[in-house]
Subunit: 124 residues, 6 copies
């Protein structure tokens, strides 16, 4: 294992997702521990580590991606919380979701704002 | 037709997409003119008109959405040009595309960076 | 707000979806009220308002779209009820779902007939 | 091989797709002949053979499905021609495509109307 | 009905899916009995009946397909059980799911390993 | 950069994809060099490096994934060539593609066998 990538990834994961990200990694330990490691090392240690875009910009792209893909409600939940955690406001998160309306249509967007409501209520 | 929505939409479309957006609208006149009108009125006159997110943030979400959806190369071309037009750098556009790697995998990302290369070359 | 589009959309929404559509709009008031307005104005006030296709034909297209997209079970529920509401029979709804089998495969179709069963039972 | 299913399917295929369908089947002979046979037997001999929906209704569902799925331009081309062949007008085909706008967004719809234009021009 | 295709399909369905497959067929009897028949006849009587690939190879392809499609958790459950039933080990099933990571990203993969955990626990 | 992961990945990439994989990596150098590095390090150095499944099994999963995703013709081309390169026969590749028919429908399958024909002709 490449300690430095893992450590860099862990620290970026914490900075971005807070507890939500680590909970996902932990939940994978019993069934596919390398999957958790890859998420830390590759997603956070490699992709997020580049500083051309800041964390808020990265979460805007990620919200656009997850809303569009569909069937990713658990991941959307983590990343809506992450978006708030890195400093996007609730209004900005809702607008990011709504921004996809012309590109993927209303069903995906309705499902995503319903996830946002759940996350917002939990953080009240 | 609601003149004010259409006018507001047209002016936002110009501000964001430059000539590329209007070319799409024009290309639809012969076959489905209402589709062009809806894009102007709904996408730009309604969705983009909200100012909670600025144009650069909206293009980051849109890139995340279009890369993820796949099969949207012509639209990706318009929005990569739009992203540059509203002030994102080439490096930021590339990073926005790469940011989707952990969420949609490499095939969509490779296809999108190939579209970006084409747009960048045309704007050189 | 364009009162006439909104009023036209509301009245088409009622004619097509009955109570189910309005319930969706209402459910969005707390988190993204403009999303509910767009659905009324754009989807129903613009798209459905064209009379080249009648309501039954539009619901056949919509069922084909929602079954295919997947992850749209709540919307499929609304539109299966809408299909019955505008006069398609249960047998026609089931056949519309089955018609997508050669194009999207059995998993999407099985999931959709299970939604249809739920809607049919509620309307018994 | 079940001759009766194959014959029933072939005759429905001809009735619906005209020459376009048979051309697809023929094109598969060299690489995967059973795929052509399955399309004839299963899609047309089984699915389309049920008469609860007529050919025009089935093509409306199919257009909704193919527009939504994306990346299916060749099949959309065949089925837009089929829709005209069974008696839907060009205006109805365009409206069927536009009807998916609220459900899948504009990129898929723009791509599909561009396919429709090509088919319409060829049939002029 | 073509008895021989149906019988061949039923016997392959039993050999591959064990009880899980027949339970799916039975569950469709009330709402769309022909759908159950098509799955037996077409999926198993036609597609799986070819012996160029063995059952384990076919389940590897099927896992790749279902993980990628998303929104197919019930079908993934049936086919993870089927994969074990035809002799793939738990470790091989997990690796097959993980193999899709570079091609569809982590959200689909996380959702699929969570389905695998449920199936493994039920079979303990 | 982690030399050992990169070297391990490069050598697995060569063993699996032959020249096709390296050509993809090279083509990304000008626009997004880290993307090429991630494919080598993560896809091949991490994912493929696990030996629970052999190269032929991994390509079966990959074909199932790429056929299903759609809009991935360039990647399908690379992996059909890779499947042949690691020892799957043409008949097995065709059957792997056909195996997805019940799960994703005929359009994706037709498009994929057309890609297979192109790859087979080039390797004749």
């Amino acid at each position: 294992m490449d300690e430095s990538r893992f450590e860099r990834g862990s620290s970026i994961l914490d900075a971005i997702d807070g507890q939500g990200g680590q909970a996902v990694i932990d939940s994978l330990q019993d069934i596919a521990p390398e999957l958790g490691r890859w998420i830390v090392e590759f997603a956070f240690g490699d992709v997020y580590a580049n500083q051309t875009l800041d964390a808020r910009q990265r979460e805007l792209v990620t919200l656009g991606s997850l809303v569009t893909q569909g069937g990713t409600e658990p991941q959307l939940e983590v990343h809506i919380a992450a978006a708030l955690h890195v400093g996007l406001s609730r209004a900005e998160v809702v607008q990011a979701i709504l921004q996809t309306s012309p590109y993927v249509g209303f069903p995906r967007v309705i499902n995503a704002v319903n996830v946002a409501r759940t996350v917002f209520q939990r953080h009240s």
